[in-house]
């Protein structure tokens, strides 16, 4: 048992951190958040150059063969920098779907393009009115012989406004809440009948509502087994959850640094406010919560690659629930300890807080995952 990172991992993290400190300062990030795309294609190209976009892919497709712990390292730093670029949707979500379920030719075509920074992708899975239920799919894909016609709507598709290709889940069989009968298709953004309505999200990134009106795709657009995509989707989303937990830990760490600094420099009543014991203790609780969250995020990153689906479910839901709770209390405390400065747009504190809050609402909130974890106790 050891918690040490390899030299390669430390080097990667260090490079990325230096890049972000230099090229992704808070004011630059603000400009990007207000731009049309909501991120920088240039930064994206640089992330590709650093090898980040190739991280989780096998070497034969131009990847670095990294595991979930590598992704964790990267996401922590991206969180710290509040990076807007669509890493989660493209590399983690769509990337792991293709890696794990794609045909040889799909992998050949898509993975190197993602790794090289030429292709943006995402997953469109959740639908209006489903909340966080993964098997609740009403979108249909009807076979017409050698093609499929896709109809339905997908909501809050992360990075959906910029994605060149979207992996979409649809029913090829089964009823609305069946586990079986769900399939995945790769659809180009320009496909006739596909309407994408992009919008900014609360944290400054981008998402989209997507509408599929008789969108026709060929048989070769099928990704993975027909009717059997749910386990693959669950795994990809679990990878994404682990990545989000790491991002949250990166943000909490940054918030703690900012708050501690504020406590030491902000003076009231003739002394730094960090001399007040009630504030000290709240700061201590933030640190404890963050360290505990880091432990849980680490546990999930180490386990998600190696364990069976049931145990993966347990550990990943544990992490999402627990990190979410920590993030809530750390975020709220950071804002409170900053006083008025915590609720203005000008400082990064409010932006960290908003991102933490939105992470909670992505792929199931704290109560959703606590519920999954709790219900598993029935089988104990």
């Amino acid at each position: 048992m050891n918690f040490d990172y390899s030299e390669e991992q430390l080097a990667l993290q260090d490079t990325l951190r230096r890049f972000i400190d230099k090229e992704y300062r808070f004011d630059q990030r603000r400009t990007l958040a207000q731009s049309e795309d909501g991120f920088s294609r240039e930064v994206w190209a640089q992330l590709a150059e650093l090898g980040l976009l190739a991280l989780p892919f096998p070497e034969e497709y131009g990847g670095l063969g990294g595991n979930a712990v590598d992704t964790m390292l990267v996401m922590e730093v991206l969180g710290r920098g509040l990076v807007l670029e669509p890493y989660l949707g493209t590399v983690v979500l769509a990337g792991s779907l293709i890696r794990d379920a794609g045909t040889l030719s799909q992998k050949d075509m898509l993975l190197p393009a993602i790794a090289g920074g030429e292709l943006l992708m995402t997953l469109a899975h959740y639908e209006p009115g489903t909340r966080y239920e993964m098997n609740h799919i009403a979108t249909t894909a009807k076979s017409t012989g050698n093609s499929y016609l896709i109809n339905g709507a997908k909501s809050v598709v992360l990075g959906g406004n910029d994605a060149d290709k979207i992996v979409v889940s649809a029913r090829t069989g089964g009823g609305r809440r069946d586990n079986d009968g769900i399939s995945l298709f790769v659809v180009g953004r320009t496909a006739p009948g596909l309407i994408i309505r992009g919008y900014p999200t609360q944290d400054g990134s981008r998402a989209a509502e997507t509408q599929f009106d008789n969108v026709e795709v060929g048989d070769d657009a099928l990704l993975g087994t027909k009717d059997g995509a749910l386990p693959i989707i669950e795994r990809a989303i679990d990878y994404a959850i682990v990545a989000l937990c790491a991002e949250a830990v990166g943000i909490m760490t940054a918030l703690n640094e900012a708050t501690l600094d504020y406590l030491k420099t902000r003076k009231q009543f003739g002394q730094p406010i960090g001399r007040f014991q009630a504030l000290q203790h709240r700061m201590v609780d933030m640190v404890i919560a963050t360290e505990q969250a880091r432990s849980m995020a680490t546990l999930s990153a180490v386990r998600v690659d190696s364990i069976d689906a049931a145990e993966r479910r347990r550990v990943v839901s544990a992490a999402k629930a627990y990190v979410g709770q920590s993030a809530r209390s750390v975020g709220q405390a950071a804002v409170q300890l900053h006083g008025g400065m915590g609720v203005v747009d000008e400082l990064n504190v409010s932006h960290y807080f908003k991102r933490l809050t939105m992470i909670n609402a992505t792929f199931g909130d704290t109560d959703h995952h606590l519920g999954i974890f709790s219900d598993l106790l029935l089988a104990d």
Binding site: Y126, P128, G129, T130, R131, Y132, E133, H136, A153, S155, V156, R176, R177, I195, R197, G198, Y199, P200, T201, Q202, D203, A207, E209, Q211, K267, Q268, F269, G270, I273, F276, A278, L279, Q332, V335, Q336, G339, G340, G342, V343, V344, D345, E346, S350, F353, K354, T357, M358, A361, T362, D365, D367, L370, G371
Partner: protein, 398 residues
Amino acid sequence: MDLNFTPEEQEFRVAVRSFIDSNLPLDIASKVRNGSCLGKDDFVRWQKILHRQGWGATMWPKQFGGAGWSAVQLYIFDEECSAAGAPMQLPFGPKMVAPVIMAYGNRSQQERFLPRIVSGEDWWCQGYSEPEAGSDLASLRTKAERQGDYYIVNGQKAWTTYGHYADWIFCLVRTSNEGRQQAGISFLLIDMKTPGITVRPVIMIDGGHEINEVWFDNVKVPVENLVGEENKGWTYAKFLLGHERTDIARVGRSKAALKRLKQLAHREFANGRPLIEDQRFRDRIAQVELELMALEITNMRVLLADGKKHAPGPEASILKIKGSEIEQMLTELMMLGLGHYSLPRSFEALDAGARRQSADADYAAPLSGNYFNCRKVSIYGGSNEIQRNIIAQMILGL
């Protein structure tokens, strides 16, 4: 002991409700209920309507144009306004500067300023905090130097809510550096149109513009705008801090918000069923309802006790702490209730097609922003940490 409203109080409620029903503009009520931002015009329109009814400053003594209502009546009025979606009456004029002018201002100040507050003609803002003087208000540095019939004011005020709408600002300024910090502060009324005043917007966490910095650069303020005596401003400021009382617990508003939260939980779906059937979410609603039930009683206990001794007490800090916590719980639950629909920043981006498929669209838009924005309520007006200090010192003698 009797927790029922008297028949007279119930009649009073009916009268208030019926007045609001017939007079509250629907567009304003709809904005309030959806948690959208109100513009200056919305506040002023409603103030003028209230003024026509003689309810422009209900909490004032009758001699100054108030309604002469009891604490219970004021509470009922507040509850009915909140339930109907009337705009919250902004405190700066009627509840903050006015009581100071009544208590410490001279006759001519009272005649000049009070009627224009109650009529909605003058919009007031508060010049208390400064960048370096927040919780530690007495360390303020904005300076007013006497030159003949004028004070020359230089400095900067921070966190000035709706300063960009204001006609007047009431300021704490430093007129002396001698003795204790508190002993050199004066209370000045300043016309916002005076040359040398600059208002700079501060954008809030939710992207909205409510607050401002106000800069004073050799601003000439006539000495007749000094309230009370020079260097006695701290006394007036403390008097004022104890004043904004009848709705510091914000029970009426929170009751209305709780009702909206329950509606939301019936309209949103989880796992194919109404969200209210999700026991975990329902329990959270139940929990905040318990807090609010208790606070409603605590609030009345404090108000009725105050009514007797006619002096606001530090118990108001209890109301502030609990009231703000409840407001924050409610905004948080409304956001959580939306699930992933809490992410979009603006539903204006969703066209009608998407709206049809999402039960959320119409009322969901401002909810995340409201949650973010509402973090301020445990910070402003003396953070909850300061409120705890006040209770520890003033009630517990620690």
